[in-house]
Symmetry: C2
Subunit: 334 residues, 2 copies
């Protein structure tokens, strides 16, 4: 199992990313290909006394910055680390890739070189969200801006497979994010999507609402990419917002401050739950291979977990399973 890591992207390349990769090879038999400027990478690797048999390097001379326009940058910078990493998957040189950089560029690299699975109308970004009881995925989290009902049905199919195989939940509960629980509620898109999704052979629990997202009673949350991206970004900021609100209250009184001091690690660990390092990133589902999109501020632990999650996706042959299910669905709906 070989995973390419774009170590030049994100907010602190390549040091923490390389450290995360070294941790991943120490803890598993996954081989990692570090993609980026080779001089910089070898210089960083020299800092580590141990030699790593599972590590190799592929040179890429360019970098796409976090704030560059993805479409334009990907057309112009063919030798950008994120493009080279994607190409390694396309050429079957690695089984998947991970980039913690510009999300749009990672999507563009995947679509451009790895390409979407035949029959998949729109690949989707699946974000792994913390809930009171564990984790759930939300898709599409922003790979697409405008969606139609059939796209949402395909998101549901792809998400269900991911949760079954990677989060290891045997019969994932699939819910459609909507603005009312009754079957006929919602906007035109969600009403039509409901009609298609209810015919699919999995555990569809119907419409769910905003307050259900974090409750942990649904495993696959299906929505269009516009709504999903807003929900995702809202959730990402939340840990920090709530902790600041608590801090504001705490400083009002000495007893509170002492209490907060004693409970500090507990509060920090709640904040950390909203920082989804556990799986290291958001999988892009619906392409002929495995790609994981990280956060700009991916640290060592998140990088390690991202590599292991991508390897798990590759080992499960997630793309093949998706291809099969989408094909069956297309046959059944005509």
């Amino acid at each position: 199992m070989k995973i390419a890591v774009d170590v030049m992207s994100g907010e602190s390349p390549p040091k923490t990313l390389i450290q995360g990769a070294l941790k991943a090879v120490e803890e598993s038999d996954v081989e990692v290909v570090l993609v980026g400027d080779e001089t910089t990478i070898y210089k960083e690797l020299e800092q580590h006394s141990q030699s790593y048999k599972q590590i190799s390097v592929v040179h890429a001379s360019e970098i796409i910055a976090m704030d560059e326009s993805p479409a334009k940058a990907c057309r112009k910078k063919k030798d950008a680390s994120v493009m080279v990493a994607g190409a390694l998957v396309a050429k079957k040189k690695t089984d998947g890739f991970f980039s913690p950089g510009n999300t749009g560029a990672t999507l563009a690299s995947s679509l451009f070189s790895i390409k979407r699975i035949e029959g998949v109308k729109r690949p989707a970004l699946a974000s792994i969200l913390p809930t009171v009881k564990g984790y759930a995925i939300l898709l599409d989290a922003g790979a697409n801006v405008d969606s139609d009902p059939e796209h949402l049905a395909q998101f549901a199919i792809m998400g269900e497979i991911f949760v079954k195989k990677i989060l290891e939940i045997p019969e994932p509960r699939v819910g459609l994010l909507n603005i009312g629980e009754e079957d006929i509620k919602g906007n035109e898109l969600s009403q039509k999507a409901f009609e298609i999704i209810k015919t699919i052979d999995f555990n569809f629990i119907g419409n769910i609402e905003g307050h259900d997202v974090f409750e942990g009673d649904v495993d696959v949350i299906v929505c269009d990419g516009f709504t999903g991206n807003i929900v995702l970004k809202l959730s990402e900021g939340l840990g920090s917002v709530v902790m600041r609100l608590i801090k504001n209250e705490m400083i009002k009184n000495y007893k509170y401050r002492l209490g907060a001091y004693m409970a500090k690690s507990a509060l920090r660990s709640v904040k950390e739950r909203f920082n989804p390092a556990t799986y290291g990133g958001a999988p892009l589902l619906g392409i002929n291979g495995c790609a994981l999109v990280g956060h700009g501020n991916t640290g060592e632990l998140a990088t390690k977990n991202a590599i292991l999650t991508t390897a798990k996706m590759a080992r499960a042959k997630l793309d093949k399973l998706i291809k099969k299910s989408i094909h069956l669905h297309t046959l059944s709906t005509g």
Copy 2:
């Protein structure tokens, strides 16, 4: 200033609602009309030794339950408390009304009897959200399921007036909830809405993203009713979700438990911030009068605040100001 209160709706009618109304008249010169079954209301009023000059009662023989289909129920139950309360505003017998019941029924009652302002294409529900720095409003929070760009522009105008007059922020910052900060980002609806909103003469700060919602750097958050309703319901559940996560962590260790005990009131007050009793409900903007929609679980404090907020809206002649601004906007856009 006279406000009608539908005291038969919500989860615990009419006791807490009547108590909230009594608090409101004790603390202000607002007159309150209690709308509902008069026998029940008088029986509850008898529990209070004091007589209240500012309180009167209007009988309504029917009730629309929280789970009834609004459109159907409003057509069938003309004498429902929420319908009678709306009709009092329409007949200018009161300056506004508040109902803590079925949101759809409150909207239907408002649109049916009070009617929308000439020129307003779609009235919008404005939800008042807590932020790290204070409060912001989000609209539309679910009065409409499908919106077009001009609707969003009108939501922006109405919301800006509400924030200026009721939250008393002199130059409200208006932001469009979108999935990228650049001007050209987003789905078709938000891109087109951006083009209209940027021509309006107020402090438009451009696109904002999910993580900006609770940061307190934007005062009026504009979005379609589908997205808005999901954001609203997600936020409503959050206080409870985060507190449960903290509790789960706290029980792991004696020191944490003691810390949590000491900081209990601080934690509770953060939870309370996500329970928007401060303003008592969500105003419906764009109708010829003032209506506030409460939560089903409206308590005494929220009822009092809802009455005072509705009275403030009426005193500011919010509907007249909205009518004028929408008229000017319509002239300028042709």
